[in-house]
């Protein structure tokens, strides 16, 4: 009986303790946040940056920005890039932030067409000018990356097979059953690879190419991590496919400490270039702050931090890359491309056509 009496008191005590801890928790999470409509936390107010869930930058850079501008930077991640853009479209009459980062070239036109963004002409480095979207500078390119087929070099040398090089190679009989790709409906590298084939074979030819891939037993996974960590045979995974759709930036992370060559490589003739943009949201409560955020993202310090924080290449080619990147992760010289406007016009059709083609 004494046990049950102790229990009787234990429960309220624990709930009480939870309550106290909970309040403490709420306090610490709400600390330093203010409403996006220009709070009073810092002299210059707050600026809210809406971004996707892969956004990351070192704390020191953020503090530097805050002390330089007197603004408080409030970063809000809203799911993946697609989900983020669609949320911005849905909330454009009452925007949930001031600036946005992470709209990629597959969603760029949708965002511009929906009127989510306010014009802002940032000063662009020369290397960035080729990527501009929107007539009045609605989107400012910040970083780029290539989605390419990655190959497990050890596997190929062990099986005494030449490493493929082009998209066409992948349909050859000697590479039957060796490639894993991602579903373009659920994965952004999957969509990028689909677009690479559209860029390579044209709006009319890509389906024929995919028929050959299917005939060559292409494996489809739902997400990048699924394809890369389960299906791929690379050093950090257990799978049996030596070819996988991944990023040009993937190989450096597979290099063991002290090694002089990479066990995997990106096939640079199979790449689609992704570009990530920033912009000022239309109807922002703090448009000036938003412009400062866009400028900051283009600043050399942030550009230099992008590779190791977000696995993308700075759009400013004058910024030095980490040595492992220059060594193991070069960008494609001639990536395939499809214009943002064309992507927006056709992406749903292409994905549906791909689905009926590959999935049946």
């Amino acid at each position: 009986m004494s046990r049950s009496i102790r229990t009787r008191w234990a429960v309220p005590a624990v709930v009480g303790a939870l309550a106290l801890a909970g309040c403490a928790g709420a306090g610490s999470t709400s600390g330093g946040t203010a409403s996006p409509s220009g709070g009073s936390a810092a002299p210059g107010g707050t600026v809210v940056l809406v971004t996707h869930d892969s956004f990351a930058l070192p704390d020191a850079l953020i503090s530097q920005f805050e002390s330089d501008t007197g603004l408080t930077l409030d970063v809000r991640a809203q799911g993946d890039a697609g989900a983020m853009v669609n949320q911005l479209v849905l909330t454009k009459d009452a925007p949930i932030g001031d600036a946005v980062f992470g709209i990629d070239n597959t969603f760029a036109s949708r965002a511009v067409d929906a009127g989510v963004l306010a014009p802002y002409q940032a000063t662009l480095p020369d290397s960035a000018k080729q990527y501009t979207v929107g007539d009045s500078g609605e989107l400012t390119p910040i970083d780029v990356g290539d989605v390419c087929v990655n190959a497990d070099l050890e596997w190929f040398s062990k099986h005494d097979l030449a490493v493929p090089s082009t998209l066409e190679d992948l349909t050859k009989p000697e590479y039957k059953g060796l490639l894993a790709v991602e579903n373009p409906a659920t994965s952004s590298p999957g969509l990028a690879f689909l677009l690479a084939t559209v860029g390579a074979f044209g709006a009319d030819g890509w389906q024929g190419y995919w028929q050959e891939l299917v005939a060559n037993d292409v494996q489809v996974a739902s997400s990048w991590s699924d394809a890369y960590y389960v299906d791929f045979s690379g050093p950090s995974s257990d799978g049996d496919k030596p070819l996988v759709v991944s990023y040009a930036s993937s190989p450096p992370d597979e290099v063991p400490d002290g090694a002089t060559s990479a066990p995997t490589t990106a096939l640079l003739n199979t790449c689609f270039r992704q570009v990530e943009y920033a912009g000022v949201l239309a109807g922002a409560a703090n448009p000036d702050g938003a412009k400062k955020v866009v400028d900051w993202l283009l600043s050399p310090a942030v550009q230099a931090a992008i590779p190791e924080s977000m696995y993308m290449y700075p759009v400013d080619s004058s910024v030095a890359l980490p040595t492992s990147w220059t060594k193991y992760a070069p960008l494609a010289t001639k990536p395939f491309s499809v214009s943002p406007a064309e992507i927006t016009a056709h992406r749903d059709d292409w994905i549906q056509a791909w689905t009926s083609l590959v999935v049946g």
């Binding site: 009986m1 049950s4 009496i5 009787r8």
Partner: protein, 356 residues
């Protein structure tokens, strides 16, 4: 008017399927302060509904329930100051014995020290001294009911309602506990309304007995009076009387010697002799065998029961009656009168009742 006053009370009983039955039908009842009244009736007669209405657990469809002349309509259960003891105790399993008994005191915000004293005092009263820290699950059925009684008495309710508190127990325990309940009620001076379907229990506990049937009260009287002068044949039957004879029937002249007060008054009530519709009632214990008895009966059955012998006898001009006699050393079936034999019988003084 002190104590409980129930006037013209109607309680409806709603079934799950939505049908409505009248459980208590325009009923009047008074219980004076300090009095113990037993509510006696067959199952389904509405006793429990009446009790629950008095406790405030069941709404009254019409009529009035008052205490010391104050209407209790709108007073919620917990403010009525009444206690209620259930048939199956309904003890709080998560509290020990002391915790159960102390519950009402805790509700009255009695200081812990006083509470402990009062709890031991009550546990002593119900014969469970030293049981304070026992878990409920370790108690026997009888012990549980004693705890329930102590718990009900502890807050000193102005009226204690007992809903068949002993009927889940075995017979021997029931009889012993009935006396203990009576003693406890008297010792604490508690006013009580005691629901039961067992008349032995009612007679053992109550100052007055109210006989209830089909939602109405048939008779409210002191036990002795109720026994000797049931108001109606239905009451008499419920009390166990088996055979009836009009006062002007030939057999009544013989039976008249069994009346407690042959003709005239009983407990201040007078009845006139010769009323044509008056009836004499005979039951177990009304007749005894005697070699020179004035009545003759034919034995139909004979058997031992709880140390006595019970004979089923058909008396001429009266009908089937149970005759009880001491076993007096007889042990086997061979010692019993055989069926078909004739026995002589005489009325026991005080054993015959008169209706009307």
């Amino acid at each position: 008017m002190t104590g409980l006053g129930v006037r013209d009370l109607v309680v409806l009983y709603r079934d799950d399927d939505g049908s409505v039955a009248t459980a208590v039908d325009h009923l009047d009842l008074d219980v004076a302060t300090g009095e113990v009244v037993a509510l006696l009736g067959p199952s389904g007669s509405g006793k429990s509904s009446l009790l629950r209405a008095v406790a405030g657990l069941e709404p009254a469809a019409s009529g009035r329930i008052g205490w010391d002349g104050v209407d209790l309509a709108g007073v919620p259960t917990h403010r009525r100051g009444f206690g209620l003891m259930f048939q199956d105790g309904q003890l709080f399993g998560h509290r020990d014995v002391a915790g159960n008994v102390a519950f009402g005191l805790q509700m009255q915000r009695m200081p812990a020290r006083e509470r402990a004293t009062r709890v031991s005092e009550l546990l002593g009263l119900v014969g469970l001294g030293g049981f304070e820290h026992r878990a409920i699950s370790t108690l026997s059925g009888g012990e549980r009911q004693r705890v329930a009684l102590a718990r009900s008495l502890a807050p000193g309710p102005r009226l204690l309602l007992l809903d068949e508190p002993l009927s889940a127990l075995d017979r021997a325990l029931r009889e012993r506990l009935a006396d203990d309940v009576r003693a406890a009620l008297l010792a604490t001076g508690t006013t009580a309304l005691f629901v039961t379907h067992d008349h032995d229990e009612a007679f053992a506990v109550a100052d007055r007995i109210a006989v209830m049937d089909a939602g109405r009260l048939l008779q409210v009287d002191a036990p002795a009076l109720l026994w000797q002068a049931p108001a109606t044949r239905r009451v008499a039957e419920f009390l166990g009387y088996e055979a009836f004879a009009p006062v002007d029937a030939p057999v009544a002249a013989v039976l008249g010697s069994g009346l407690a007060v042959p003709v005239g008054t009983v407990a201040g009530r007078s009845w006139s002799d010769g009323t044509s519709d008056a009836v004499l009632a005979v039951g177990p214990g009304s007749l005894e065998t005697a070699a020179d008895g004035p009545l003759a009966g034919e034995v139909r059955s004979a058997g031992f029961r709880r140390g006595v012998i019970e004979l089923g006898v058909v008396v001429e001009g009266l009908g089937a009656v149970t005759v009880v006699e001491r076993s007096a050393g007889r042990t086997g079936a061979a010692d019993l009168p055989r069926a078909g034999t004739t026995v002589r019988l005489r009325p026991v003084v005080g054993g015959v009742a008169r209706i009307g």
